[in-house]
Every structure is written in C-alpha cells, then in structure tokens.
C-alpha cells in the first residue's frame, strides 16, 4: 500500500487548474501553498503498479510543469 508525497509545480498562471485536476483524482490529496506556486500532493494507492499509473496520469496534465518525488512509504495492506 504505497503512500507517496510529491511537490507539484504548476505552469505559470495554472495553479488553480492544476489543483482542480489533482483533486479530481480519487487517490490524491492536495495541499496548495497559500503564497507560492506549488502544491503538495500525497497519493495513496493499492500497489506499485497503481501508483505508477497514477503518477503517469498526473504527469500528463497540461497545467503541470514539474512533479518532484519527496518521500515514499509502503505499509502492509491490512494495517
């Protein structure tokens, strides 16, 4: 059960668009910075394959400039 956090940098002027797109993914939690163009993204998926798929999906968003991995945790499924 991977839990991963990223920093998402939006394209210029597209912070709210990116926020909207990310929050529409069910496995994503998004925390936007108040005063900078950056969002914290935390994903929680069932397995690595699902995680990779979600990451790919995020990376195709037009409003995204850069996605940077910060930390990854793996926990047992029934925990």
């Amino acid at each position: 059960m991977p839990i991963t956090s990223y920093l998402a940098h939006p394209q210029e002027g597209k912070k709210s668009e990116l926020l909207k797109a990310l929050t529409s993914f069910k496995d994503c939690e998004v925390i936007p910075a108040e005063n900078e163009d950056i969002l914290v993204v935390v994903t929680e998926t069932r397995d690595t394959e699902e995680e990779n798929n979600l990451k790919d999906k995020i990376e195709t968003l037009n409003s995204l400039k850069l996605l940077v991995l910060v930390s990854g945790f793996n926990t047992p499924q029934n925990d």
Binding site: M1, I3, T4, S5, Y6, L7, E29, I31, P32, A33, E34, N35, E36, I38, V40, V41, V42, E44, V68, V70, S71, G72, F73, T75, D79
Partner: protein, 774 residues
C-alpha cells in the same frame, strides 16, 4: 511520536505531507500551507487548546488538538493577530518530539560513573542538600543558576526570587545573554526602556523593510511571510543587508553584502548622508533627542574577569556631525565592500520623508563585539529622521527565543536585573524586597557573572554548584572546547533540568526530568511585547515536573518555604499575580490573567483594558505626559540619545594562518541546539546534519568538492563537516558559514568567546579559521 493515532495509515499520510512541506520550505522562504492544518488532522473528537508556539520569538498562536490525553495535531490559531492561523514547519511539528524514545522521564543521579534512576523527591533532596552544603562551605556566591529564554514567566520569576531574594546571590544569568543582551543594552542606552516601541502591525504599513544581518525567511518565517504578503499586495520593498546570500536575500528586492564588522561604518555612513543631505528631522531631534559619546577601544573581553563600564559624555549636534566626517560613503566603501551607490541608496530610503521604514534585526547585530553600538547606530538613523514609534515607521529588534522578552528581559533572569529595574538601584532593590517579603540587605547590589564569565568561573573552580534549565550550554556557548572540560571537573556539582538528554546533561551529577511546555501551564512574552498564556494541555510522562515547581520544592527543602507559599495546582496563576505587582502603572502594566486566558495574548503596557501598540507616541501611549507628540519617558528628561559610536575592527580577523571568517547561525528546520527538533523525524530527515558553506571560488582554489568532508579549525579547536557549495546559502568569498544545531559537529569548539563589553553578549559571527580537506 503519535502513538495515540489509531489509524497508522493516516499518520503515514501526514508524515508524507509534512516531508513535502518541509522540502518546500527549504526551497521557498516564507512558504505557507494554511489548509495543511485541516488535511493533516486526524479524524475524531479533538479538543483544541490554545497557546503560543514553543519554537521562536515570533510567538505564533497555536491550537493543539488533544485526543485521549495525547497531543495529536497542531494548527495555527486563526484568532492570533501574530500569525492569523499560519505556522512554519517547526510550528506544525512541534508536539512530535515529546514522546521520543529517549525522553527524560525520571530523575537520574550519577553513581560511580553511571546514571541511576531515582524518585524525583530524592533527587530534589540531593539538589537541596548539595546547594545548602556548598553555600555553608564556600559562601552564597559559590552557587549559580543558568536559565533560559525558553523558561516560562513564572519559572523565571521563581528562579530570580530564589537566587536573589532567598539565597541572596546575583549568580543568575540566562542564555538570552547569548542572543538578546546587546538589544537590551541598546534599548537602555538609547531610550532608558527595554523592548521595541512598535508591534507586528507595523508590517502592514511600512513601505520598506531593511533587514540588518537577519535571515528572516529561516529564523522568523511567519513574519517574513507577512512581509512577502505586503510586497505582493502593496509593493512594499525588502532590502537585505547581510554578509551572506540567504533565502531571505533571494526573496528580497535588493541584497547588499558587506564585509563582516563594517556594518558599524555603513550605519554611520547612512547617518552622514542623512545629516549632509538635509534629511534630518530637525524639530524632532530638537524636541526629543540628546547627543552623547562613550568610551572607545574597550577591548573584547577575551580575558577572564574582564571588566568595563562605559562613561557617557554629552556632545552637541555639531560635534556629532564632525565625527561623521570619517564616514563618508567614499571612505566607508573602501573597507566595507558596499558600493558608494548602495550606501547612498540605503540612506535615501531613510531620508525620504514620505516613506515609512522598518529596520529589522536579530543575531547579526546582537552577536557582535560592538553589538550595543550597532543597536545604537540603527536607532540613530531612525531618530535623526524621526521615523520611530509610528505605525510602519520604526526600528524593530526581533527576538530569537519564545520568551526571551517575557522571561529573560521582563522578569529579569540576568545577573544585573530584578523583575523591575536593576540590582544596582536602591529603589529597585527596595521594591523587590517588599514584594518578596525579604530584608532589602539580602539582595546584593553588585552584578556577578554574565553567561560567558559564569562558565569561566566554573572552569576556574570559583563556582562549585550550578543548576541549568532548558539550556544546552555545552553546545551553545562560544569556545565549548574550554567549557566542556571545565564542567567535567569534580570541583563543580552540576544539576541539569531538561526534557531530553544533551551534551550538557552528559556532564551532570543530577538530571531532573522537566515538563515540556504543553505539559504545564505557563506564560511567554514574544518580540512585540505580547504576553501569552496557556493551560496545561496533556500529562507529561513519568515523573516529569515543571521547572518552577522543582525550584519551589528545593527552596522549601532549604528552609525558604515561607517565601514560596504557592500551591502545586495553581502556582502559575499565583506567581503571575505576584509578579504583576512589579509592573503596575502606565509604563509597563501587564494584562490580568483572566484577559490572557480569554484572548490570544495582550501587549504591555496594558492600560485601561487596552494593549499599547506604539510606545512613546502620545496618540497611542497613555504613559506619555510631556504634552508633546512623542515622549521617551524611559530617560529622566524624556529624550532619547543619539550616540556617537565609531567603527572598530573585530576581536579576531582573518590572517595568513587562519585566512577565513567563520560565521555561525541557524537553519529553518532546527530550533537552536537541535535537542528537540532533531527528535522530530520530518525535520531531522530534512536537515540531518550540519555543514560548512563555502564560496565556490574558495572551494575551487582549495580543491574541495560539494559534500566532501572538510576541517574547520581556529586557534581554539576544530570541527569536521561536509562542504556545502551553492546549496542553501552563499557566503562571500573568504567566509565560511556553519549552523550550530548539530551536537555531533560542535562548531562552537571553534568559535571565540569575545563579547560586547557593554552587553557581554558573545560574537558568534566573526572569528578567524582555516579550511582543510579532512
């Protein structure tokens, strides 16, 4: 850590989010994630309790979420005018350290070289009998106490009453000597009254923020975010004047770099420009200012038992003007490495009568062998232009510790201080004796040891018993290479009261387990004169006990019980109410406890149910009584002093053997010596160890690569650290910067114990070192 969380996955998500926020904070100074509060908070029925943050002098209001008796979440207090609901990374994660595995939960006593757990009552018996026996054998000046700007107001008050009123010794000093003493001496010499005249609302009105050697993005992040907000909203400008390019510099409108120690000269050059361009506010200085000069070539205090007393002499404006002739921008540019254009630019900001300017500073100005002078010079600039004590216009000395103002400065846990005034003043001693109900002769009229001299006296064998609380001197003092062996000597019995083991507790004879701030009730006072109260929120583990209560227990055991008639349950309230009597009146009245319980703090002087936001300004301050717009009532004639203070070189400058300047300081992730924040996994992971920043050209010349271990050595000691090149900060060529939070890389073994002769605050920013590959 959060063992109370039933949902481990939820906790891991919170950790993951926190790690990302911490990473972001290291990239973007002043970054704020307001909604993280909601996102990070566990489900369930949380009981939110208000208090101030534990981690810096900004004094943000926090709300701690308590579930089943455990602190499980922290969010910013939206009702606090300090931070309006925002916190920095340290603020959000603060409660995560309190359940660290190696928490000190029981008293320990050293027996045959190992620590043995004993009941706290027995430990307090040992402390009391050892203290008593030492006094009987060697006299009352053989015992000492070293306390903290992180102690609560009641803790500082009881420490002062115990040492000065009960025992009758002035052997009490605190770690605020290492960070704030020059600010205090600056205020007292210029205004006769300590602490800033303005408040944080100044940020909302200023057109310019000039930061003097102050990396606010990392040290005062929430205030820096207030400046960034005003920059974005109103176009307010941030001017960073420093010796190193930091996260604050890169977020500023202009960064001006100067050669270490020459801030004195640049400050005088700004005054020269103000005087010679007709920018002096003549009517203001005629009505409200005097001019004085003091002694010069005072030395640097590097020798034991060094003594200095300034001798002020009055001068007139013309003499001051003539003195400034040595500080033309052209002359100063030659040695300060600040261009004539930049000096003139800085002066023009202050000289423009239509612009409101705040000066902000902290350790760069205070930890300086001429720290008092540097504080005076900044005040000179504001007084000459009359930009003071008005919304958005004023010098603002920032504080490092959460209660350096409230406890160290207002209660007065310095050797020369009393809760009101100083020990040298007969009237002040008489007031203390009356409130404490002790004979006035018991309070000695002479100050004894300031912090550095106190630990020198331990090393010399003059102090035979020392009790420290909420401090870590063997990491934070300058020249720890002398003081560690000094404290290890058998001649001194060492009692350390703390929350976690530290290099200081490693040399203790008795270790007392202290309560962490939310495990007790208390009060702190922040940088803007705001007093904040909190109620105990959770139970501490084992036999942890509030420091104030440990003092009271020891005092009772030593036969002073009648002076400490407080109850265990209610001692914080009882002590605060007694302490308030010292400050009654319009100049320093403290808010009643009922008010502080209700609201997120109040600013003193608290008069007729109102905080005083701008002191010395008759429109805002009811204590002004001279019939004028301004009244500097701290001085007998109601006038502030413009001081003639020259440039003098540092105590030790680079030479051929030791060709680099060493500058030390802090990082955003860690609180001072790291004993708490290094136990918070997210913060520790983000910044696991110290490093030495070098300029890339210096690194290239020495063949040093990024991350490679280097040895930083001075005439006193050395320290091995990884080199950091073009990472977080960029020192100027010929300078190396090292943060001091890491007990495994003790940079204070290398620093010099030179201090400002007036304030006795050490200079951690300047000494000479050499760099080699390790």
């Amino acid at each position: 850590m959060y063992t109370s969380l039933t949902n481990r996955r939820h906790f891991i998500k919170k950790m993951a989010a926190a790690a990302a926020m911490t990473a972001a904070a290291t990239m973007f100074p002043g970054i704020i994630f307001a909604s993280e509060q909601e996102a990070g908070i566990p489900n369930g029925n949380l009981d939110w309790k208000k208090g101030p943050c534990r981690f810096c002098g900004v004094g943000c209001g926090i709300l701690v979420g308590v579930e089943n008796g455990k602190a499980v979440a922290v969010k910013g207090d939206p009702n606090s005018s300090v931070n309006k609901g925002l916190l920095c990374v340290k603020g959000y994660h603060q409660t995560m350290c309190i359940q660290a595995k190696d928490r000190l939960t029981h008293a320990l006593v050293k027996k045959n070289g190992t620590y043995v757990k004993i009941p706290i009552s027995e430990a307090l018996d040992i402390v009391a009998s050892k203290m008593k026996e030492t006094i009987e054998t060697h006299g009352k000046d053989s015992v000492a106490m070293y306390t903290s700007g992180q102690s609560t107001i009641p803790e500082g008050y009881v420490a002062s009453k115990f040492m000065k009123g009960a025992i009758g010794t002035n052997n009490l000093d605190c770690n605020a000597r290492l960070c704030m003493a020059s600010a205090v001496a600056g205020f007292l010499t210029t205004f006769g009254a300590d602490e800033p005249m303005g408040c944080y609302e100044d940020f909302d009105y200023a057109d310019y923020y000039v930061t003097w050697g102050n990396n606010m993005a990392e040290m005062h992040p929430v205030l820096f975010s207030r400046m960034l907000e005003q920059k974005n909203k109103r176009g307010a400008k941030i001017i960073d004047f420093a010796t190193r390019t930091t996260r604050s510099s890169t977020a500023s409108d202009k960064s001006i770099l100067f050669e270490p120690q020459t801030d004195l000269a640049v400050g005088n050059a700004i005054c020269y420009e103000i005087v010679n361009n007709g920018w002096v506010n003549k009517s203001f200085i005629e009505k409200h200012c005097n001019f004085s000069k003091g002694l010069t070539k005072m030395g640097y205090g590097v020798e034991d038992k060094y003594k200095f007393t300034d001798k002020p002499t009055k001068i007139d404006f013309n003499q001051y003007k003539a003195f400034l002739e040595d500080y033309t921008p052209e002359k100063v540019a030659k040695y300060s490495k600040v261009s004539v254009k930049d000096i003139k630019y800085l002066a023009s900001i202050f000289g423009d009568p239509n612009k409101k300017v705040m000066s902000l500073w902290c350790m760069g100005v205070n930890q300086h062998t001429r720290g008092t002078w540097m504080n005076n010079i900044i005040y000179n600039i504001h007084l000459l232009t009359g930009k003071i004590s008005q919304p958005g216009n004023g010098p603002f000395s920032l504080t490092g510790q959460p209660s350096a103002c409230g406890t160290a400065r207002e209660v007065g846990t310095f050797t020369h201080k009393l809760p009101k005034g100083v020990v040298m003043n007969e009237k002040h001693r008489a007031l203390a004796a009356k409130i404490w109900k002790v004979p006035v002769e018991r309070i000695p009229s002479k100050p004894t040891y300031h912090a550095t001299e106190m630990f020198r006296a331990v090393d010399r064998g003059n102090i035979k018993f020392i009790w420290t609380q909420a401090v870590n001197p063997l990491v934070s003092l300058p020249k720890t290479s002398r003081f560690r062996p000094g404290m290890e000597k058998k001649s001194c019995f060492v009692v350390v009261s703390d929350v976690f083991p530290t290099p200081t507790s490693d040399v203790a004879d008795v270790i007392l387990p202290a309560s962490w701030h939310i495990e007790k009730s208390g009060l702190y006072g922040n940088s803007e004169r705001r007093t904040q109260h909190w109620n105990k929120m959770v139970e501490g583990p084992g036999e942890t006990t509030p420091d104030a209560w440990m003092f009271i227990e020891v005092a009772k055991r030593m036969g002073y019980g009648d002076l400490f008639p407080y109850s265990k349950e209610n001692h914080v309230e009882e002590i605060y109410n007694e302490y308030r009597q010292f400050h009654e009146g319009k100049k320093h009245g403290m808010a009643p406890l009922e008010v502080l319980k209700e609201q997120s703090g109040a600013i003193w002087p608290y008069v007729d149910g109102k905080s005083t936001q701008w002191r010395f300004n008759a429109a805002h301050d009811p204590a002004c009584s001279n019939g004028e717009d301004f009244h500097f009532y701290g001085k007998p004639d109601g006038k502030a002093v413009i001081w003639q203070r020259p440039y003098e070189p540092a105590a030790e400058s680079p030479d051929t053997a030791y060709p680099f300047w060493l500058n030390t300081g802090r990082v955003i992730e860690h609180w001072h010596t790291g004993s708490m924040t290094r136990r918070i996994p997210v913060l520790h992971k983000a910044m696991p160890n110290a490093y030495a920043e070098l300029h890339p050209k210096d690194a290239k010349a020495l063949g040093i690569r990024n991350g490679e271990n280097i040895r930083v050595s001075s005439r006193r000691g050395s320290c091995v650290l990884p080199a950091s090149i073009n990472e977080r900060g960029l020192p100027t060529q010929g300078q190396v910067f090292v943060p001091f939070f890491d007990e495994n890389m003790l940079i204070n073994d290398v620093t010099l114990d030179a201090f400002c002769p007036i304030s006795k605050e050490p200079d951690y920013k300047k000494c000479a070192v050499k760099i080699e590959k390790a």
